[in-house]
Structure formats: C-alpha cells, structure tokens
Symmetry: C2
Subunit: 268 residues, 2 copies
C-alpha cells in the first residue's frame, strides 16, 4: 500500500529533490492491529525535522487520515512516512519549492524480529566508520549512504548486526538501531551529538529507565570499553528491544534487565 | 530534455533507492555547441563512484549515445548524469538491486556565469560547517543536505557565494564550487580528504598549474589565513574559473593569474 500526496500513485517526478539531493526526512513505525505504535513520538520527530530543514508538513489531520487509510486492516506492518522538499530546478536552492512530497507506505513486518527479541543476536564491530556531522546528527534524513555501505559490510559477515563507531572511535549505533548496555546497574547509551539517529524507541527506553529509577549515562565510549559490560541490547521501533547474546568473542547470557524493559515499554 | 534509462520518461518509482537513501551519485557538465566539455573526466568520476558504491554503470557506448541524444542541438547547457542503485525494498540492503537507474537531463546554462568569469564575485564566510566524512569525501553523491542548508544560508546574505569550512574550521569549498588562492606565486587549494567534492574543474586547474610550472600546495587552511592571499577564485564545470573581487572586508583586484588559467584551460 502506498499513497503519494494522498493518491494511490506509484510514480514520482525525477526532479524531486528527495532524489536529487536527499533533501528530506522519514520515519518508520510499527503497525499492530491497525494502530501505529508511538504515533505521537513519530509526529514529534517529523515536526522537529520539518523545522530544521524548513520543509512544511501536511496538516496533522491530513497525515493521520492518510496513515489510517494506508494501515487499515494491517495486522503487523512497517509504516514509512517520507517527506521531501518536492520538485525543484537544477542546483541546491530550495527557494520556490512550495509543494513538499509525502510518501506513505506499508510493508510487511520482518518476522525474524520476534525471535530476535526472545533469543538475542550476535554482533561484530564494523570496520566502516561514521562521519561526524553535528548539524545533521540525530535526524533521520534521506542522506543515508553511510548506512547503505555499513549494510554492505554487514552482509559480508556471519553475524546479525554490527556495532558502528565514528571516525574518532566512539560507539554510535548498530547498522539500523540504537545501542544500550548495562554495567553495574547503570544503563549506558552513546551520545548522538556528532553522528547517529535519535530513534523513537531510544527515547522510550530512556523514558522508561527514568520511571524505573534506573541510573542512565549518555556517554562517549570506545569499543574496547564494551568488553566490561554486563548486558547489551539494540533498539528501533520495528525490532523493539533486542538483547545481544554474543559480541566479538564474548557470550552474554543475562537478559533479565532488557526483559524487564521489554515488558515495561508499551504504547499507551 | 530528459532520458530515464534511455526513454523520454518523466517518472521514477518511489521505491528508487536514490530517493529513499540518496543511494547514488551524479555529475554535471557544461555543454557547448552540442559537445560535453571534459567528457573523459566526467566518465572517470562516474567510474570511480560506480566502483566505490558498487553500482554498475551502463556501457560507455550506451551512456555516450544517450548523452548525444539529450544534447543534440544544444548551444549552451548543463548536462546532468544521475545514477542510483535502482528500485529496492525496505531497509538499507541493496542486495538484489540489479537495475540501476540513470537519469540524463539538460537544462539551460546560468547566463550570469559569463559576467562572473569576467568581473568576479563577492564572497562571505558561511556559518554552517561541513561534517567530516573521509569515506564519502571527494565523491559527488546524492547525499547533499549539507549543500541545501548552505544554500539556504547563502540566500539570506547579500553576496554571490560563501566560503564553507568544516567543523574543525578548515576551509573546504564554496556553496557549490572548489576554491583556490594565490600567495606569492604559489597556488593553494584545500585538502579534500575529510569533506568536499573533488570537482572536474579542480582537476583541470591542478593539471594546468603543473603544465605551467606553477607551484601547488594542497592544504588545511583556516579562514583567517585567507586574509593574506593575493588573489582567489572558485571553480566548477559550469562556471569555469570565477575570480573573487571581495572577501569579507577585503577588495581583491589582481585577476591576472586566474585570467591566465582561464585562457589555458580548454577542453581538447
């Protein structure tokens, strides 16, 4: 199912600036029984990006109504909302682009995530290092070539995901998820001021930890400092919270804290 | 005039990875009397990017033939060749994308560049700082949100272009051109190992300087070090070599060296 500017269209203009320059942003949400999980957080993310890039969103009523049309009857699915500055002329100027493009699409939910949540996955370090970009860090923009190249590397390895560092060697995220770890009862996650995406599920985890009075530390950590952790997990809105059962040579068996967070984090 | 995969089409698929992730690259060339200037350099640039991102190019015969169709009868124009990984599914994996998209388009040449080449332009420093990304630096990828935001800033200023630095304060480029300066007979241009686009015209300038036995220095220079320069110019394939007549409060009047390069750099 796909709606482009509200129409069941399957074509966009080659002059769309989303294609020419990655001039836009997106969010991906889990749909469960015809309902978008954490809808308010996704809207908040879209509004922050809209302000940052000066690309106007449709009214929330329009957006909600089109999303409802797209997800009607969907038992389990991935909703993607992609916004671009719309059609433009040659060159970087977005002046005069008055009609942003919105693409709302629904695809199947990856079934392996259920097993991942229960049994955990194996991670390896990634050789590819993320650039530093404090201007774009945190946002889920259409500039995702780094992630494409990271995924290429992951597909050459015999693991489920990779831990990606930035060019200074600081841990940032996995190939498509935020990363957390516990050490002596404190929850850690990387600082995202220079690189990485500030995920909707990451926010939920931090909110939940606060409610449970779990101490949280947002840090710049190098890869070798992860050797000491008691447990790890990765998160995004589609996979939820996925424990790590193996990282490099180390086998991690204590899933108790991540399981507690898995139970607590629910969409209201 | 536009050809998509060889057809005079005006539509692309919303599942094209160029749109979803900026998963592709492009080059822009000047067309003069039905001929592409510096064609071999543009092909070399496309081949380097093809190898880097593992996106197959069409055969050079196909590419050349489609370009000839697109530029037939064009007196002065801008040719853009844009290549993406083609249609794909959800997620960063490009596995199975066997049919890259190629978009060949021709638009009018911006007429002001003729005046710019002769009379020079005024530059100001840019507040927006480029991120560092040694993996993508040099390539003209479809990830150009930085340039979109830089252009937004430029449009709020009363100058022709801006000098952009990276987050460490090193001069990289202008909003859409490479930058050069002369000091005591030596030609300087920024190192592009961390940020910036390695332009086709930049290569021509370096080649020409070598032929003329002008000493060249590829440097990491901070903005305040530009206060001492004797003359400056910016370059891309569309504007050619454009002298700078004013930078910040300083008026630069000696165009002799850039004029010499302008005369020497010709497509064979």
């Amino acid at each position: 199912m796909m709606l482009i500017n509200g129409e069941p269209n399957r074509q966009i203009s080659p002059a769309d600036r989303g294609l020419a320059y990655g001039d836009g942003f997106f969010t991906t949400a889990k749909v469960v029984r015809g309902k978008v999980e954490f809808w308010r957080d996704h809207v908040e993310r879209l509004m922050l990006a809209s302000k940052k890039f000066a690309i106007e969103l449709p009214s929330l009523l329009t957006l909600f109504s089109e999303v409802q049309t797209a997800i009607a009857g969907v038992e389990l699915g991935c909703l993607k909302i992609l916004i671009t500055r719309g059609e433009g002329g040659r060159g970087y100027s977005g002046a005069g682009c008055e009609n942003p493009t919105r693409i709302i699409s629904v695809t199947p939910w990856p079934a392996q995530y259920q097993l991942w949540q229960r049994s955990g996955i194996a991670l390896a370090p990634c050789q590819y290092q993320l650039g530093l970009n404090p201007q774009l860090a945190g946002y889920k923009t259409l500039n995702r070539l780094d992630q494409v190249l990271i995924k290429q590397e992951l597909e050459s390895l015999d693991v489920d995901d990779v831990i990606v560092c930035d060019i200074n060697g600081y841990v940032v995220e996995s190939s498509a998820a935020n990363v957390f770890w516990f050490e002596q009862g404190t929850l850690y996650t990387p600082d995202l001021s220079q690189a990485g995406v500030n995920g909707v599920m990451r926010k939920q985890v931090l909110r939940c930890a606060e409610q449970l009075e779990i101490p949280v530390n947002i840090v710049k950590f190098k890869l070798d400092q992860l050797a000491q952790v008691d447990s790890m997990f990765i998160t995004n809105t589609l996979m939820g919270l996925v424990p790590i059962k193996q990282f490099q040579q180390r086998v991690l068996t204590d899933f108790s804290l991540v399981q507690r967070l898995q139970q607590e984090i629910k969409d209201d």
